[in-house]
Assembly symmetry: C2
Homo-oligomer: 404 residues x 2
């Protein structure tokens, strides 16, 4: 079934997301879990910190012993022990006593504050405290960060540095993460060749090989790249094999809407083409199919159209296929010039954020890959808008925000 | 030499950046260059596209033959050849003729436009063209993207998907990139242990191992992790070895300002401590030294202080050490509540961007790693500001913008 009507991108996403398979999980060492998506809620096994600890180098004391004291009228205490980092005092601190303590060491029993070294003067076992402390001053109390049994991280978050530190602090050294989706990519086009400087005849360099492969990596998925000439029978064989070996297939080229085109024709023969043509510019000739139970994303052959389609539909799908919940940050900026659009069509305009304003690039053609390099963001003109006036606020999606 | 005055972060950065070594380069296959920093200006060896090419599937024609024609009054042409993708016609197209052409194929000699298939009707060799074309309609002219000899990418840019596609299109299959800096990390603290749930005595989990290691990876540098107990002699041996083996060393812990502390003391003995103490909160006890000609970044032992110091000083340094020029995107948002600060101090407040506003988290203590997970940005209060009023615009740095 071919759909003749162009589908709005938001509706297209809903259809696609309904056909993605729930991700499976695996256990990995926390050390190897950077940028993996956690597949379990993490409940802490420990208090953090695990005990009342000194937040400064100095002396553990009873705050009451220092009340009202100052540089001119120091409290006079007796040093009864020394606790280095990694050590724990077995001595009970009593009134009038002090214990030398290193940052991070457990506060000794009986103490309720730490005086910083620079507010003291010591000679042998004698200590002058030249300040007045409040109880728990310079102490990080047990469980200040989180308590044993607290839910500290929810399933679906990406393990960035802070998350890894937090999970480690909870006592876990192995975690359950979602498997990375394996993506088979078929770049179609008999004319495509790998980079070389002596092009012959109709040869064109296969830049999609490089852009699509690295875009998949930027989604933390695992690409394997294949090239196909424009032949329906070979395409069918390759697609069959890849659907067997991979979690999803992405193709480029052969998606023209006006007529039968090789990739969409083959997809239609093998499974359900759920959309063909979206109201997106650039990127109209996008198709999506479910074949042998797996998602097949069919992108344009034109490099920029393919990249926009990837950002609009594939990126979030690959995130979902590894359980990642992520909403890219968008911002509002004033446009430096008018941008024309059409009701019923969503535009992704390559643009440059320049301080308080955003400058849409002037480009024609969806093959102008240089424009993707010169821009750092998309201005998104939604379908219910006819365009943006000069100086009007518009929705800006920095490329940087797209990356997982 | 110990500096007693706290150094403003902006001045600290200038000092640090003056002591970083220029990066060396290596040649890599373009296929393996994703997220590497390019070390050469790229001048194209080719025109892109390499020839006038069909931008649509249809028929190559002379536009003049279609002038004034329409569905009711089609131009009548003779089909003289077929050009598939990857093929090139050797036939010269003359007045009254058409050549069937696939998207991407070279426009045959004599043609100056392509009519889309849906505006035609064909029967055998006969073609009706039911529209009027302007010259070069549906043609991507040679060099539309860039010309042979054009400077298409400058040294110092990171090779993201679009950059890879662009470089490929220019004909290059190998590029010169900056070497990734190798970073030796010494986590100090006798009390630190790897994650486990049965902590004993004064043991504390070494969360810095996980956060610092992955932060270095997020800068596209290569970390190697070591642990040291708080002992000056062992520290000196380890630092000596690491300065020999790595491009830079990062330490955590042992940087207390008030008194001599093990890491800074050892650094002072071995080389030049160029700063010790910055007017940054959290993160005041930061030190930087040049030892044996190499940079040594000394961070706090407290996880959040260490992370803020990393973001404020180390991240950009590691970028510079691989030749990367990058300015993170900052935005202005209204604060949901008042934030107190002090003149002469820069504050990095962990915060959550929520639509049009930014919500500063309420935290005390620099060890609260959960706050880094719950936040998605820093509010930066510059040193010349006493704070921010509720509803006032403030400078926001999304964590996402920090990543290379």
């Amino acid at each position: 079934m071919f759909l003749s009507k162009l589908i709005p991108p938001e509706d297209a996403k809903k259809i696609i997301f309904n056909h993605l398979k729930a991700p499976s999980t695996e256990i990995v060492d926390l050390e190897k879990a950077y940028q993996r998506v956690i597949a379990q809620d993490v409940t802490s096994n420990l208090n953090s910190p695990p005990f009342d600890r000194a937040a400064m180098d100095g002396y553990a004391v009873k705050a009451e012993d220092t009340f009202g004291h100052s540089e001119k009228n120091p409290a006079q205490l007796k040093i009864i022990d020394i606790i280095g980092a990694g050590e724990k005092s077995r001595v009970l601190l009593k009134k009038g006593e002090a214990i030398k303590i290193a940052t991070g060491a457990p506060l000794p029993s009986g103490a309720n504050a730490v005086v910083m070294e620079e507010f003291t003067y010591s000679e042998g076992k004698h200590l002058d405290v030249e300040t007045s402390l409040v109880p728990w001053e310079n102490v990080s109390p047990v469980g200040e960060d989180f308590h044993k049994g607290d839910l500290i991280l929810e399933k679906g978050k990406i393990l960035n540095p802070a998350e890894l530190g937090l999970v480690a602090s909870s006592g876990l050294d192995r975690v359950s993460v979602f498997k990375k989706p394996k993506i088979g990519v078929i770049i179609t086009g008999s004319e495509l060749v790998m980079p070389k400087t002596n092009l012959e005849g109709a040869e064109v360099i296969n830049s999609n090989f490089f852009t699509i492969k690295s875009m998949i990596k930027s989604c933390l998925a695992v690409p394997d790249m294949f090239h196909a000439i424009d032949d329906a029978s070979l395409m069918k064989d390759m697609l069959t094999k890849l659907l067997n070996d991979y979690d999803a297939v992405i193709t480029t080229g052969g998606t023209a809407i006006s007529k039968g085109d090789v990739v969409v024709d083959v997809a239609n023969e093998m499974g359900d083409v759920l959309m063909h043509g979206v109201s997106l510019r650039p990127g109209k000739p996008f198709a999506f199919a479910k074949i042998h139970g797996k998602p097949v994303f069919m992108l344009s052959g034109f490099p920029v159209a393919a990249m926009v389609q990837f950002d609009a539909f594939v990126r979030e799908s690959l995130h979902k296929m590894q359980g990642l919940q992520m909403k890219p940050l968008t911002i509002q900026k004033k446009a430096t010039r008018q941008i024309a659009s059409t009701l019923g069509r969503t535009d992704y305009i390559r643009a440059v954020i320049e301080g308080d304003v955003v400058r849409p690039l002037k480009i024609k053609g969806s093959g102008i890959i240089k424009s993707m390099v010169e821009s750092n963001s998309y201005i998104i003109i939604p379908e219910n808008t006819e365009g943006i006036f000069e100086g009007e606020y518009c929705l800006v999606l920095p490329y940087q925000s797209l990356k997982a």
